[in-house]
C-alpha cells in the first residue's frame, strides 16, 4: 500500500459493502420487530395479550403486517404533486437509514488476518453528520405533506418542521456540553474514551442526557411529541393521503429513526459497545467484538423499550405546550448546562 491519501483496495470496498448490507438489513429487521414489540408492549401495559396468532407468540406478525401493506390499494390523489408525493416516503426512509453509517457497532474483528472495523465510516465529524442527516429527515415528512395537497397533511408537515427546528437547537446545545467533556466529534473516539478508564458520559452529563433524550423523542415524532400525526385533530397528519407501502415506509422510517437514535444515545452517553465491568483488551478481538455488539444491542433495545414505555404512558402535548417546553425550558436549560460544563472543564483543567 502506498502512502496515497485514500488507501482503497478491493478488499476494503468489499468489506464495507458487506458491512453496509448487514447494517441496513439489521436496522430494517430491528425496525420490523420494533413494530411487533410496540404492539406487545402496548398490550402488556394495557393488560392485554397483544398479537399472538401469527406463529408462536405472534412473532410472524410483522411479516403479516408487511404483506397486508403490500396488498393494499396504491392511491395517489389526483390533486397531488405526483413526483414529490412519491419522493416523500423515499426521502424519509433514506435519511432514516443513512444515519447508521457513522455509528460504531463494535470494535473490530479479525478475518483472514485483516482487521475489519465494525463501523462503516469513522469520520472525525461523525456527530455533525448525524445532526445533518437528522435535520434532513424532516424533509421527507414536509415534502410528503406538501405534495398531498391536503390541509391536514400540510398542518402535520408544518408542525413537524417547526418542532424539529425547535428541538434540534436544544439537542445541539446539550451535545456541545458533551463535546466539551469528550473533546472529539468522532463517535468511535467517544466510545473508546468511555471504554478505557472513564466512566460513561451519562455520569458527567446527566442533565445533558435528559435534554438529549427529550429532544430525541421530539425528533423521532414519538409520543408525547407526535403532533405531526396527531390523529385526533389532524386525521393522520402528514400521512393522511398515503396508503399501501408508501404509508408503510413512513411508519417504518419512524421505527428506524427510533432504532438509530437509540443507538446514538447508547453510543454518546452509555458507552456504546462497551460491555460494563469487562476489560475488552484482555479478550480475543473477535470475542470482544461479539460481546460489544451484544452490549450495544442490549442498550439499544433498552432505549427502544423506553421509547415505547413513554409512548404508552404519557398523553400528547398541546402544540403551545410543546413550543413552550422547547424554547422556554429546554434551550435555557441546555445553555445553562453548557456554561456549567465549560466552567467545570476549565476549573478541573481536563
Amino acid at each position: 500500500m502506498d502512502n496515497s491519501l485514500l488507501a482503497i483496495d478491493m478488499a476494503l470496498i468489499l468489506e464495507k459493502l458487506v458491512l453496509i448490507v448487514v447494517v441496513v438489513f439489521a436496522s430494517l429487521g430491528i425496525a420490523m420487530y420494533a413494530t411487533y414489540g410496540e404492539r406487545k408492549v402496548a398490550a402488556f401495559m394495557q393488560d392485554r395479550r397483544g398479537p399472538n396468532r401469527a406463529g408462536p407468540f405472534g412473532i410472524l406478525q410483522p411479516m403479516a403486517d408487511g404483506l397486508k401493506l403490500f396488498f393494499k390499494e396504491e392511491i395517489i390523489p389526483n390533486f397531488s404533486n405526483k413526483i414529490l408525493f412519491v419522493m416523500g416516503p423515499c426521502l424519509a426512509m433514506l435519511t432514516a437509514i443513512m444515519t447508521s453509517a457513522v455509528i460504531p457497532w463494535g470494535n473490530h474483528i479479525e478475518i483472514f488476518g485483516r482487521s475489519v472495523s465494525l463501523q462503516i465510516a469513522d469520520v472525525n465529524i461523525g456527530m455533525l453528520y448525524i445532526f445533518g442527516v437528522l435535520s434532513l429527515g424532516v424533509y421527507g415528512i414536509m415534502i410528503g405533506a406538501w405534495a398531498s395537497n391536503n390541509k391536514f397533511s400540510l398542518f402535520g408537515g408544518l408542525r413537524a418542521a417547526s418542532q424539529i427546528i425547535s428541538y434540534e437547537l436544544a439537542m445541539g446545545i446539550s451535545f456541545i456540553a458533551l463535546l466539551m467533556v469528550t473533546g472529539s466529534l468522532s463517535l468511535k473516539d467517544m466510545v473508546l474514551q468511555q471504554q478505557t478508564g472513564h466512566w460513561w458520559n451519562v455520569v458527567y452529563q446527566p442533565l445533558g442526557f435528559l435534554i438529549f433524550l427529550i429532544c430525541a423523542f421530539a425528533e423521532c415524532n414519538r409520543t408525547p411529541f407526535d403532533l405531526p400525526e396527531a390523529e385526533n385533530e389532524l386525521i393522520g397528519g402528514y400521512h393522511t393521503e398515503y396508503s399501501s407501502m408508501k404509508l408503510g415506509f413512513y411508519l417504518f422510517a419512524e421505527y428506524i429513526n427510533m432504532f438509530i437514535s437509540s443507538a446514538v444515545m447508547a453510543t454518546l452517553f452509555f458507552g456504546g459497545y462497551d460491555f460494563p465491568f469487562v476489560d475488552e483488551s484482555t479478550l480475543s478481538p473477535n470475542f470482544a467484538a461479539l460481546l460489544g455488539i451484544v452490549a450495544l444491542m442490549g442498550k439499544i433495545i433498552g432505549f427502544i423499550f423506553l421509547f415505547m414505555w413513554v409512548r404508552w404512558t404519557i398523553p400528547r402535548f398541546r402544540y403551545d405546550q410543546l413550543m413552550y417546553l422547547g424554547w422556554r425550558i429546554l434551550i435555557p436549560l441546555a445553555l445553562f448546562n453548557m456554561l456549567a460544563t465549560g466552567a467545570a472543564v476549565l476549573y478541573f483543567h481536563k
Binding site: 408492549v41 414505555w309 404512558t313
Partner: protein, 184 residues
C-alpha cells in the same frame, strides 16, 4: 352537600409548587404505574384454545333430548313453538309406525324440527314450555358461520348423541342443565 358515596375526592386546586411544575416526577410516577401493569396477569382468555366456563344458568344452543334408552322425547306437540317469542321454532309431526318403538318414546314424534338460530333470542321459554323434557338449552353457544342457511339447525344438529351407543358424547352434551329423568 352530602356525598352519595365515600369515594368522592376533593380536588386540590392550589397552584403547583416547583417540584410539581418539573413534571418529571409525575411522569416517573405514571411510568411506574404502566410498568406495574406490564407484569400483571392478563385477564384475556385465548379464546379457541381456552374457553371460559359458563355458569349453570347459561342458556346456549338447544338440545333435543333422548331418554335413557336413546328414544327421542319430543312428541311434536308444538308448545315450544307457541311459547317462542321470536318464532324461531318450526316442526312437522308424524305418527310412529310399528317397529319404530326404539326410536321414539311416544306415538307421535317430530319428523322435522328446525330452530333458526339467527332468530332465537336464547330466552329459554321453549325449555320451560316443554312438558316432555325434550328440549333444553345447553352451555355451548352458536358458532359463527359465513352463510345464513347454516344457522337453521335441523334435527340432526339438535339431537343429543345416543346415550347407549355414544355414552361419552351424550354425557358431554347433557351437561348439568338437563332435568333428571323422572317422567314416565
Amino acid at each position: 352537600m352530602q356525598a352519595l358515596t365515600h369515594r368522592a375526592k376533593q380536588v386540590n386546586r392550589s397552584p403547583m409548587n416547583f417540584w410539581e411544575r418539573l413534571y418529571l416526577p409525575a411522569i416517573f410516577q405514571g411510568m411506574s404505574i404502566t410498568l406495574r401493569h406490564f407484569f400483571k396477569r392478563k385477564v384475556t382468555y385465548n379464546f379457541p384454545e381456552q374457553q371460559r366456563s359458563f355458569s349453570p344458568v347459561f342458556r346456549g344452543l338447544h338440545i333435543l333430548n333422548r331418554d335413557a334408552e336413546g328414544r327421542e322425547n319430543c312428541t311434536a306437540c308444538g308448545l315450544c313453538a307457541v311459547a317462542c317469542p321470536a318464532e324461531a321454532i318450526s316442526m312437522e309431526a308424524a305418527e310412529r309406525q310399528p317397529g319404530e318403538e326404539h326410536l321414539y318414546r311416544e306415538e307421535k314424534y317430530a319428523a322435522r324440527y328446525e330452530i333458526n338460530m339467527l332468530r332465537c333470542i336464547f330466552c329459554g321459554l321453549c325449555e320451560e314450555a316443554c312438558p316432555k323434557d325434550a328440549i333444553y338449552l345447553s352451555e355451548t353457544f352458536a358458532p359463527s358461520d359465513y352463510e345464513r342457511k347454516q344457522f337453521i339447525y335441523s334435527k340432526q344438529d339438535l339431537l343429543i348423541p345416543h346415550p347407549i351407543n355414544e355414552p361419552e358424547e351424550y354425557k358431554k352434551a347433557l351437561g348439568n342443565r338437563a332435568k333428571p329423568e323422572d317422567k314416565s
